[in-house]
């Protein structure tokens, strides 16, 4: 998202530009159809589908009771998400643009989405959002001007007050969102758990914005902002801070009062969402689509160019033939198991697997050791509840760290593979565009991941990592004997990660017996069983995720290699066939080819407008 190109004020005419590009794509698809390249038609179809479903996903996150839903309401310009002094949002709400309002409750995994209501019935929706219905997620489509710019807003349950796996799930969806609005309130400095969450979030999402709400009721906002800025700087978190008042915004809207509107502070926030987040996401999506168009046109042109070459200089036929054959071989070798990019991929996958496994095992071992050391100095009976909580929080924390690592490494791997492919394919012509594997990780960190993440399962393997981890979590209840105090298992507070601090004070009374020893052994066994299970479950899921990643990367580049083979083969065949025709036809053929090539060039020029050259580390100059 840090593309250096100054994005044109894309927001207002984003729809128009997108429409133009879709027209270009349709034209290119027709051309591919005429060129009898069904594979390229398909490629364009899926590119079109990706473009039309793209949008900038903005997650609104924060500890509970900080006013997240109010901020969402202010942004979309209506009281849609229920707001209450006491009760909190329990299921995520996804808001996107539509011309008419509709509210859908998405039920449990596997079941088809169930429509709650077409009409805005507050009670029904309120119930669903508070978790009373059997819904895991509520989707609201509504005609909001802000959403029309392509923003998709996701209101999430509070991070701190719910079970700790909530924080984890929220983090899990971050790689796939374009921006994160972290809502805290202006009446209080950011706390240690909030900073800890922000630090993790910032590693997974490059646009993190701190939104301090409720400025209307607190006279000392400036002091809080200053203190927060200091905290963020100390923690090394790069995130701009904005202060807003939902109350003022609502009143400004009702009274159409621009002064109040300005005081509400929403102006700059919206401007940033529209001009930076939405526009950047749009530009990225357009660029990816345009790159696909260019690649298709390039492949369509190649055989024609070869034919043209053959017709123009029949005397060089042998040389041309040799060149074409060589290109075909190179394309074929790209497709082969032994291609360099395949090596990079399979080695990389193995390394990634090892690293993730090893990291997880090391983490679980550290937890085990710490837990055992502490058990040796206390009586499990007296501290089992706190101990359970600690263990659970700690495991979740470490699984999160493990997940962050996986995501970062996976991204790096796809980039490496892409670069290697581009290098090998470089002398096949203008295929540098293939090196932009922006959508590759989508299979693993699906763009629709929020959906999957929020559903707590389904679609993507990466996310089932967390669902299953959760099922591992619930198992702990059985190990614990007494129920864990689930309501209070909390945010990932670094303060609570030191077991000593939590339990250090539980001294052992003078009872010193075999019974105590037996209890300790029991407890240790339980801890080991728990961490083993966590290791196992997370390990299995990470393997699944990595396998899916490998498959999707391989399939993508294999398909690309296949296309190249087809293009080069067609070039060889058509060039040969062209020369066999009658001499007098040559001129006519040349004219037709020139016309087609010209049409391609025009299309390519149109598409290129949407894919301005990026100064980004180009893999290698095309040869």
């Amino acid at each position: 998202m840090t593309a250096p190109n100054p994005t044109p004020a894309a927001a207002p005419d984003a729809g128009k530009q997108r429409g133009e590009l879709i027209k270009v794509m349709a034209a290119a698809a027709t051309a591919a159809q005429n060129g009898k390249r069904g594979d390229l038609v398909k490629k364009l179809q899926s590119a079109t589908a990706r473009l039309t479903s793209s949008g900038a996903r903005v997650a609104v996150v924060g500890e509970f009771k900080k006013g997240k839903s109010s901020v969402v309401n202010s942004l979309i310009g209506g009281a849609v998400c229920p707001v209450d002094d006491d009760i909190s949002t329990a299921v995520p709400t996804v808001l996107r643009y539509a011309d008419t309002l509709s509210i859908t409750g998405v039920a449990l995994e596997g079941e088809p989405p169930k429509e709650v209501a077409k009409e805005l019935s507050k009670e029904q929706m309120g119930k669903a959002i508070r978790g009373a219905g059997d819904f895991q997620r509520v989707e609201i489509a509504l005609p909001s001007p802000l959403l029309k710019t392509g923003l998709v807003v996701i209101d999430t349950p509070g991070v701190g007050g719910l079970q700790s796996e909530h924080a984890l799930r929220t983090l899990a969806m971050l790689p796939s969102v374009h921006a994160l609005l972290f809502v805290s309130d202006a009446t209080q400095e950011l706390t240690a758990p909030e900073i800890a969450f922000l630090a993790n979030a910032r590693r997974l999402c490059s646009n993190v914005v701190c939104v301090l709400a409720k400025t209307d009721i607190f006279p000392f906002v400036d002091a809080v902002v200053e203190a927060n800025q200091k905290h963020l700087t100390n923690a090394g978190i790069a995130a701009p801070m904005m202060t807003v008042s939902c109350e003022l915004r609502a009143r400004a809207r009702a009274a159409k009062d621009p002064v109040l509107g300005e005081a509400s502070g929403f102006g700059p926030l919206e401007a940033m969402l529209v001009t930076r987040i939405a526009a950047n996401a749009e530009a990225l999506a357009m660029r990816a689509a345009a790159a696909d168009v260019l690649s298709v046109l390039d492949q369509l042109s190649k055989p024609l160019a070869a034919v043209r070459e053959a017709l123009k200089t029949p005397e060089n036929q042998a040389e041309l033939q040799a060149n074409l054959e060589a290109a075909k071989h190179r394309a074929e070798s790209l497709r082969a198991q032994t291609a360099k990019w395949q090596m990079v991929l399979s080695d990389g996958v193995m390394d990634l697997q090892n690293e993730v496994d090893h990291d997880m095992r090391a983490r679980m071992r550290a937890i085990s050791q710490e837990a055992e050391a502490s058990l040796d100095q206390s009586d499990p009976v007296k501290m089992w509840d706190e101990f359970g909580q600690w263990l659970e929080t700690r495991v979740v924390y470490d699984v999160t760290e493990n997940y962050v690592m996986f995501t970062q490494h996976a991204l790096a791997l796809t980039e490496r593979v892409g670069a290697m492919f581009a290098e090998d394919a470089a002398d096949l012509g203008e295929v540098a565009n293939v090196a932009a594997p922006t959508h590759l990780l989508d299979k693993v960190i699906d763009p629709e991941l929020p959906k999957a993440a929020l559903q707590g399962g389904g679609g993507s393997a990466a996310i089932s990592l967390f669902r299953n981890t959760y099922s591992g979590m619930s198992m702990f209840g059985a190990l614990g004997g007494q129920g864990m105090m689930h309501i209070f298992t909390g945010a990932m507070n670094p303060l609570t990660l030191g077991l000593g601090l939590v339990l250090g004070s539980r001294s052992v009374s003078d009872e010193h017996t075999r019974q105590l020893e037996a209890r300790r052994n029991h407890a240790k066994a339980a801890v080991r069983k728990y961490t083993d299970e966590a290791s196992f479950v997370v390990g299995k899921d990470s393997r699944d995720a990595i396998r899916t990643l490998q498959r999707s990367v391989r399939d993508t580049y294999s398909a690309l290699a296949e296309e190249l083979v087809r293009s080069t083969t067609t070039a060889v065949q058509q060039a040969t066939a062209a020369l066999q025709g009658a001499q007098q036809d040559h001129q006519k053929k040349l004219q037709a080819i020139d016309a087609t090539l010209k049409a391609y060039q025009t299309l390519a020029a149109q598409a290129a407008k949407f894919a301005p050259p990026v100064a980004k580390a180009a893999p290698k100059a095309t040869g």
Binding site: K65, D85, E189, P193, D216, E247, Q389, F488, T496, V502
Partner: protein
């Protein structure tokens, strides 16, 4: 009865002091004994920026502790009643020494070359009646970004830590219940005499006006939340009561200045009401060009909202419009009431001040038991054990915990009766059985006898479970004790 336990504890402590004379722990034992004669010590604790210092000021009735929008309490600070005003720094190393201070609103202590980290705590001696019944302790916030401060508070409150601050009770402030809150509450509860123990902890839902975003009915909303919290077993086993308090407003109420009253009244007379546009937000209230500029200037309004909060100003407007003749004192009382301070004071009096003997005796017994465990002397441990076993008040405490943990299968109404009796241990018999304080002695006795008989029958019922029988025994003794007191 409490006093008798206090007296018995004091005589055990006297013997401990004698036994430890000349030993390395002599000073410690003397300190334990001395504390029995001092007021009960109450810590005000909670997460960072929850309004601890503000509430302390409200309880003391003066602006003493510095309050600020940013985290500001960095040192544990004791506020105790004394004839002479003085601030003493107590370092970890070296001897306590007086430090210079000035007062401009809140106290401004000049630490000079000393760093806050090197100080164990500050002791503020202040001549005020409000501190006669109890010494208050202001603590740095937990879950603070400065881990040091956070850990200091945890260590200070944990009776089994290396460096316990020896407080007898805690007023715990929270905005909403968080994990960190529960954890601290748990660490405070000692583990020897009466396992997790709500007897010495009152929770305050602080900054209650902000929970309901300063609407006129914000406090009602806060009360509803507090009521919901207190019936949750996980909270009930940690605290006695959850009281919503708007701390800022409480502090302003107890220190309301005549001038402020006049400004507020002028605004109300000029027709400002809680829903007037000028009270729409802090921004609008402190904006310059409004209709009431000539009544009360923007800067004064800003000062008012900083002192009373938006809720306070809104509420005062409504109240003053209904009571145009009211005096400053009456407004102050009304504000103290709506802020929740009046109620909190009542609870603090009932639950902490009125049973200070019991609380102090518990602290002393815990400390002496620890001392005796590490430095055994002849007979002290046995004496302490006998004292603990013979103290019916402690039996009542343990039973109360058992009831709250749901360990005793009683019917709801029986449970409610038992909890009330045990909860109000140390109070007058009439209060314990829910009669007004001026109830006739004869009526009180009749009711006591009736209850006593029911519990005796329950205890003798062969079908009663052992846990129920145990509970009955404790209650029977409580009723008998009340009857004896009534006769005496």
């Amino acid at each position: 009865m409490s006093n008798s336990l206090l007296a018995r504890t004091a005589s055990v402590a006297d013997r401990a002091v004698a036994a430890y004379a000349g030993s390395p722990v002599e000073a410690a034992s003397v300190e334990i004994r001395r504390r029995l004669d001092l007021p009960v010590q109450v810590a005000i604790a909670g997460k960072v920026k929850v309004g601890k210092s503000t509430l302390l000021n409200a309880l003391v009735g003066e602006e003493l502790a510095p309050t600020n929008a940013s985290e500001c309490t960095r040192i544990v600070t004791w506020y105790r009643r004394a004839e002479v005003t003085q601030v003493t720094a107590v370092p970890y190393q070296g001897s306590p020494h007086p430090v210079a201070f000035s007062r401009n609103g809140a106290l401004d202590v000049e630490l000079g070359a000393e760093s806050a980290e090197s100080l164990r705590w500050l002791m503020v001696d202040w001549p005020t009646e409000r501190l006669r019944a109890m010494t208050l302790v202001d603590t740095p916030g937990i879950a603070s970004l400065s881990t040091d401060l956070s850990q200091r508070t945890t260590a200070f409150l944990d009776p089994t830590s290396e460096d316990p601050g020896t407080v007898d009770a805690v007023i715990y402030l929270m905005r909403h219940m968080h994990t960190a809150d529960v954890r601290l509450l748990e660490s405070f509860h000692d583990h020897d005499l009466a396992q997790p123990n709500p007897v010495n902890c009152i929770a305050v839902l602080s900054r209650a006006d902000e929970i309901g975003v300063c609407r006129l009915d914000a406090m009602k909303s806060a009360h509803a939340i507090a009521d919901r919290y207190i019936v949750q077993p996980s909270i009930r086993r940690l605290v006695q009561d959850v009281v919503p308090v708007a701390g800022l407003l409480a502090q302003a109420a107890v220190s309301l200045r005549e001038e402020e009253f006049r400004f507020l009244r002028s605004m109300a007379q000029a027709g400002v009401r809680s829903n007037s546009p000028v009270l729409g937000s802090v921004q609008e209230l402190s904006a310059a060009d409004t209709e009431i500029d000539d009544v009360v200037s923007a800067s004064v309004r800003r000062a008012l909202v900083e002192r009373f909060g938006l809720f306070g100003v809104r509420w005062a407007m409504e109240w003053l419009s209904r009571a145009p003749e009211a005096t400053a004192t009456e407004l102050a009382e009304a504000l103290a009431k709506v802020s929740g301070l009046t109620h909190l004071r009542e609870i603090v009096m009932q639950q902490i001040a009125a049973r200070s003997g019991l609380l102090k005796a518990r602290s002393a017994m815990t400390a002496l038991t620890r001392l005796a465990a590490t430095n055994p002397v002849n007979g002290l441990s046995e004496e302490l054990e006998a004292l603990a076993a013979g103290a019916h008040e402690l039996a009542e405490l343990r039973m109360l915990n058992a009831l709250r943990l749901g360990a005793v299968p009683l019917k709801d109404d029986q449970l409610a009766e038992a909890e009330q009796i045990l909860e109000r241990s140390g109070q007058a018999a009439a209060a314990r059985i829910g009669l007004p304080p001026d109830a006739e002695v004869g009526e009180v006795r009749r009711k006591l006898l009736a209850s006593l008989e029911t519990w005796q029958k329950r205890a003798e019922n062969p079908l009663s479970k052992q846990a129920v029988v145990d509970a009955c025994r404790v209650l029977i003794r409580s009723y008998e004790g009340m009857l004896t007191d009534l006769a005496g």
